[in-house]
Symmetry: C3
Subunit: 467 residues, 3 copies
């Protein structure tokens, strides 16, 4: 299978079979050194980090150099073209004409997609704001596979800041695709966002069960479980007795405990940081004595701050430095594949392609904007050429998802271009939950998030709305 | 022809024949890849960017890597040796002992010349303040040549910020040398500086015609032409009827429209930026429908901000991303030549060497300083070893040009070392426009920009001055 | 001799024989180019500069590239992992899994030792705060050896800021090991620290003679000599007549005058910088006309500011640009040795290994901290895993030396774990100068810097103290 000229913006850009085949190639990357050291001779990687990075940047660059390629790097790029007001699309086109592959980290959600759209060469997302960080997910999965020989059907507990960690969001979608059961153990106020949970159940077919209403005993247990996600293939025989089932889950133990750092740099200035810090759960020897963690791999994307005690470093379950080290062979395999200097064979049938549902896209210029102010589509320099666009992931309730940053939008008002036929006097809008909404053909659909927005487009409330 | 160990500080460091031969070599650089990838094996480029850069830095580095060479780079160099108070001459000597070639960008005008003077290895100016950016000019000319098969006898309109763009200043001297006709279309308040215009006519032999006094009809045309420069070889049969001639020029159309960005970062803090922004001319589809632009290549050194509409990106006349892409083969050719790993044959006679007139140099320590406060000769760290020095480009009116930054100086008072023979009582100064001025031999000439300056050197006004 | 997998944190990590053999290898590095250019093929150097650097960073990188290796570099690393609160130990472990050798510069004293302790690959200290800069010392010695054919038995004058220059501290220990006589010529208020002088006499066996009390004549001589250090092997026949001896020393001349810059960036904000600047001694032509400097090499680690006049650049005695240039072959030799791709033969017997005395280490958690607030052991992120530890370099007076930054500590109170046997009521502390102190076995020793510290550990003053 040839992955040449593909991009890796989201972990969903790779099918399950491709991920597993990539891991087989990564195994060879750490083994041999002679053949691989000439694979990328004459190839150039552009390493564009608009946000600081040690681990990701250095492991990509080390990987490229170990493949015999070379690297051009714009470390001060934030201060550079951006300062002159250049768009990232322009930057992508230009760098695309210098290099053979681009690795980009950027503070805006969706930035990597824009670069991929314009560069004309393979682009790897090394983190776009709070959105995705797919190569970290590959390293995470690869580490588990090295230790457990499989990445299918795992039981994983996610620990800490589940709200803003891009690492975690990329990871759970991948885990879900490989039939994992996921236990969410967030710090206080750092629960997994609702849209992520909904996406898990709607797109990956599993079931998310909140644990908030569980008995007191559970809440005072070794760790506060907030919710559990079960893939459809997991046994659900105890589903009718949720409390007992939950208890069982905990007693069964987990394959891995995935710890994350409090993402301070993504907090708004107004957040009461100290309060968050205070209640942030710490993983230490005492916690790991719990029955549920007896065989758990302790994982962390690093850097750690205080949430993972140094006393664990010598514990054989600790995997975090291995995760970092595997960054090199995993990224070598990825780069070699996207540059087309290596091909992979997908063993058997590729049973589960990425669930990139071919949702219909809403791109009408009706004034609707992505609600995420950090989305690339909301930036002044980018709005010159990007128009907001959304996947319509559900008709009822009407739900749009930004194609750049995956934020969801729930339009409150709708109209149809068929109704008014261009005549201003016929321009009316209805409530999105009204019976009219269901009957509008997708190609005629017009949506608004507020009455003001509708009226700015010269629409008037229908008699139902205006009542 | 061997260009080994030469520097490229100004576009005038290359003769016309050398430029064209370099372009022939650049053609081969984009074609083949096998031979060239070993040309610079074992060679090191020092990439010293004291100002942010994406395009120029990355294309130089990509070019060097594609030649099989390697790069050392000091991205944070501004915060580094400069912070410790080191002179750029010292820095140049040291880096010159580590690398084989230096590429330097620096905010001070003349900095690249100083580095070239001290490094002992080939030095390429990648932009020195508002002064020159010769490799950008090479990319511009190369792009035109690719599209028009020639760079001789072109008609080029320059658009936007003609006052501060180093890109544009390097470009027009080169265009003039290749017999171009140049139309100046500046934004309001951003006209080409007078010294540049005068230099065009005095050194390149052409004629600059201001369009300010033209009839109203012209001013309301598709773009406001401020002045036209015609090389001596252009036909001037209509010169006696300037108004009509001008009309003809416009109707004839241009080969290229060279658009520039408002150089905000070079504005003083007191400049009313918003006002400039408001009146800044925008190049868009509508403008390009004008008769004069029917076949015009649309060029821009990038980054663009608002002056060039995104809607033009798909237009086949748009050349700006090609300009950027050609940066790699052009810079590969240049580096290979200066490192002496390639030689070029100049076809036929090299008809027009760079007009670096062997002007006499005034370097007497009479208190005269370059009027450009951003000139390298006026910096505290550099004044320890650099003495101001000026080319005497004209005796009447007496005109000195800084050898570092090309700023001009018009001394108002003169004296002769022959007059006083070292006796203080004979030290007298005269007006620079007096009849005495013409008779002073160059080796005896002493100049002052003010009476205070003269008196500080213990000169007294002659009876003519003191009247 | 194989130096593979060794670190160079302090100049004392290399024996005299190893230094001389390294220099022989460096000679070959500047001579040939064919063989060496493949020595480090496939090897990666991580260049981690947490402080700005031009010279050191670029010469390390150039050296690695000339050996055929490659470089990954984190120029903005200060803003990166540190900003996220990561410890340098974690960073070291991670980078140690990406690269084959680490070069690190860091503002904290002792940081390079920590990186070496955790990286698992060879680590080179490229400057840790005011502590050491061993490769600069190697370049300095190599330059002298190139000019004088030996580095043994030299007479060296050290000039300028002897208080804070890490360069100078590494250098004098090395010079002492090679039997040098050292004359200290500090700027006012910038004298060599007392602990450095004491270490010279206690560990390197020589004799430090203060010149403060010398006759007036000497003080008004060409340069103010503050102290002289003589190695034991130097002739001391005039030692009974110190004043005369001193005069003789000065008249004999020096082999090298080592000038240093005022280390402004290491000054506290409260230092009266301008005052220091004012009295800072300048080395110029006039000074070098002095008899003592007739044959002296003029050395400087660069960058210079005002302390070394530009007029000396053409003087054949000026060595400072050679020192910088030798940085490449010296660092090439070092890197090749630590990576194990080259071995060296130490000619004859290695007469003087580094005097790393196997001092007993005090690492008891009694509340004692390194007095240097810039020491790595006092940093919030590092104190999570590092415990303070000290070499006990003297029992009377009781002197502890921080194993990270070499700062000394003089505990005022002591106790013994044998006395109290864990019983709180028996926990008593005595004065460190009391007769009890000498009798405590090292394994039982407990030290305190203050009574508060002792009482915080639940110790009470003995009746002797409380009197």
């Amino acid at each position: 299978m040839n992955l040449a000229n593909r991009d890796l913006v989201s972990i969903d850009d790779l099918s399950n079979g491709e991920i597993e085949a990539l891991f087989s190639l990564a195994d060879k990357m750490s083994d041999s050194t002679d053949e691989q050291s000439g694979l990328c001779r004459g190839k150039i990687m552009a390493s564009l980090f608009f946000e600081p990075s040690t681990r990701t940047k250095l492991s990509f660059e080390a990987g490229m150099l170990r493949l015999g390629g070379s690297v051009i790097s714009a470390a001060d790029i934030g201060a550079s073209s951006l300062a002159k007001g250049e768009s990232i699309a322009d930057m992508a086109k230009v760098v695309g004409s210098y290099a053979d592959i681009i690795v980009i980290r950027h503070p805006w959600e969706g930035a990597a997609k824009v670069v991929a759209d314009y560069a004309g060469i393979p682009v790897i997302n090394a983190g776009d704001g709070s959105h995705e960080h797919p190569t970290q997910t590959l390293c995470d999965l690869y580490t588990i596979r090295k230790e457990r020989q499989t990445i299918r059907g795992l039981r994983i507990a996610l620990w800490g800041d589940l709200k803003r960690g891009r690492t975690v969001h990329s990871l759970i979608y991948a885990l879900a695709r490989f039939d994992a059961t996921i236990l969410f153990c967030p710090g206080p106020g750092l629960e997994m966002p609702v849209h992520v949970l909904r996406r898990l159940s709607t797109e990956y077919g599993g079931e998310v069960k909140s644990c908030r209403d569980l008995n007191q005993e559970l809440e005072t247990g070794p760790y506060p479980v907030d919710a559990i996600y079960r893939t459809p293939s997991s046994p659900h025989q105890l589903a009718m007795l949720p409390d007992i089932s939950m208890q069982v889950e905990l007693n069964a133990g987990v394959d891995a405990l995935y710890v994350t750092r409090l993402q301070k740099e993504r907090q708004g200035p107004a957040t009461k940081e100290q309060e968050l810090n205070k209640g942030y759960p710490v993983v230490d020897k005492k916690l790991l004595r719990g029955k549920g963690f007896r065989k758990a791999l302790v994982m962390h994307p690093l850097p750690r701050v205080d949430e993972l005690a140094y006393e664990l470093d010598a514990d054989p379950r600790s995997m975090y430095f291995k995760q970092a080290a595997y960054g090199v062979p995993v990224r070598m395999a990825l780069v070699a594949l996207l540059l087309g200097v290596k091909e992979i064979t997908i063993p058997g049938e590729d049973d589960c392609f990425a669930p990139k549902a071919p949702y219909p896209v809403y791109a009408r210029d009706s004034g609707v904007k992505c609600p995420n102010m950090n989305c690339v589509s909301n930036q002044e320099t980018e709005a010159k050429y990007i128009k907001p666009a959304f996947a319509i992931v559900s008709r009822a309730p009407l739900t749009l998802r930004c194609i750049y940053c995956d934020y969801e939008l729930y339009p409150r008002y709708i109209a149809s271009s068929e109704w008014h036929q261009g005549k201003v006097e016929n321009k009316k809008y209805h409530s999105a939950s009204s019976r009219f909404a269901r009957n509008i053909k997708l190609e005629n659909l017009i949506v608004f998030t507020s009455e003001e927005e509708a009226q700015a487009q010269q629409f008037k409330p229908s008699s139902y709305v205006s009542q």
